[in-house]
Symmetry: C2
Subunit: 279 residues, 2 copies
């Protein structure tokens, strides 16, 4: 990988901070500049050595940056792109780490100048906790990172960014923005809503076992961040939910009619299919 | 705790084996006799020191036992009780570790002689893997163990068994067999079905992140064991499922109408409620 001169990370939270740590550890840039919302988190990010230099001003940070990583909550990204559009260095690669892509790519492309190139990224690495204090340089290792190049993405920028993610230990998977949103609706966004509903559904959940605990861990995530995810992928999540409802309706029928063999068959298929998750 | 003379564990799998290890480690019995289905697992159980003595005959094992723990799959328990009914030592305490209780207690009581007493137990400790090779003496530590005394349970037997579970590190919770089945339907059995359906629902799940992995881990459990659980608690699971469907239907409406504030409110309530699970 050709080393970046300056990488600007806008939003040094769990993901942004882990990126900074990993970039610095692997020497992927001469300098990492971080943007935080508060002086306190800037200081923490610097103390943790997640960034070389910090600022509260995104415009300031992107000056001279040949890679800009937008690691803020989804809803702020398009506005941020608009604000920064005159400041990006010609030839800069712009990416993000947001959980949804189709709407985002459309919005970002509206504001981007022609002399930069955007390609969406979504590292499938996160936790139910947030903030730079939880950041770790190994966050991405062994995990999938989606990349969603679209027709305006330059091939050279895509290749360089792909190499960047690979250097961080990610398994890069390339899909279209639309397909990304379908997939993540089915195995991330819908399950997230289901986990929240299970927590509200369970009686006396303090008596439950580790299965329930593990199953609902993601329901402890930040509700505002997830509201954004749900809002920006509403259509696909709704489609996914409606398919899932059909599965539940079918299960209810099997249960009602005591079709135990069919239920066992379903459990067996699920166990079999889940082997795909075991590396 | 007054030490037991001989504890018979019928079924030395993950739970039975862990019981044996814990009982021997804590010295809760002079002798632990284990019953396995195969000579191979008997040998393994002895090699692991989960039992002092092993046999393939349950009748043989319960002779002289003042505590009998039925740790076989649910469907075999009532038949087993019937078979052993003439062999139990007078005054023996009989318990089980099954995941459902109401039907089981009824069935067991039909066959039990008057000179023994039964009280149901359900340690909320388990894993998605089975077999004695995964057994560990700490399996019960810090976990809830339900006890479901019913009108025929003698108070002294109940108290002695409660002390036994506490010695193993369990947090004993006393509920009626019926209430047990309602609670576990809501936070264990229904979520189990949901996890299986999520695995079948997700597209390209091999690309998913740790959230989905954790959420569906229980879908790797033994389908036959879970068929038994579902069958023996069919009514409560069906009621629970029907309530859960209403929650999903409501969520679908909120999504369709883009009621993002209401969705955030739901996520927030779930996050708040899940704090109960954090010790």
């Amino acid at each position: 990988l050709k080393r970046f001169n300056r990488i600007a990370i806008i939003g040094v939270g769990l993901i942004g901070g882990s990126l900074g740590l990993a970039i610095r550890k692997k020497g992927l840039a001469k300098e990492v500049v971080g943007v935080c919302r508060t002086k306190r988190s800037l200081q923490l990010a610097k103390k943790m050595k997640a960034i070389d230099r910090g600022t509260l001003s995104a415009s300031h940070a992107v000056q001279g940056a040949d890679l800009v990583i937008l690691a803020t909550p989804i809803r702020t990204i398009s506005q941020l792109t608009r604000t920064l559009s005159d400041t990006f260095q010609p030839g800069a690669i712009i990416t993000d780490v947001a959980s949804t892509k189709a709407d985002l790519v459309r919005a970002v492309e509206k504001f981007l100048p022609k002399h930069v190139t955007f390609v969406g990224s979504h590292p499938m690495a996160g936790r139910e906790v947030g903030g730079v204090s939880y950041a770790t340089p190994t966050l991405f290792e062994g995990h999938v990172c989606f990349m969603t190049p679209h027709k305006k993405t330059s091939q050279s920028a895509f290749k360089r960014l792909r190499q960047f993610w690979r250097m961080l230990g990610s398994k890069v998977t390339v899909v279209s923005p639309q397909r990304h949103d379908q997939l993540t609706a089915s195995f991330s966004h819908l399950p997230h809503l289901v986990a929240a509903l299970l927590v509200l559904h369970g009686e006396k959940i303090e008596l439950s076992g580790t299965g329930f605990r593990d199953m609902t861990r993601i329901a402890s995530s930040d509700p505002r961040l997830w509201q954004d995810v749900v809002e920006s992928n509403q259509k696909e999540i709704l489609k996914s939910l409606s398919r899932f409802q059909k599965r539940l309706n079918h299960m209810a029928k099997l249960l009602k009619k005591r079709k135990m063999q069919a239920i066992q068959h379903t459990l067996r298929k699920a166990k079999e299919r889940r082997r795909r998750l075991v590396k």
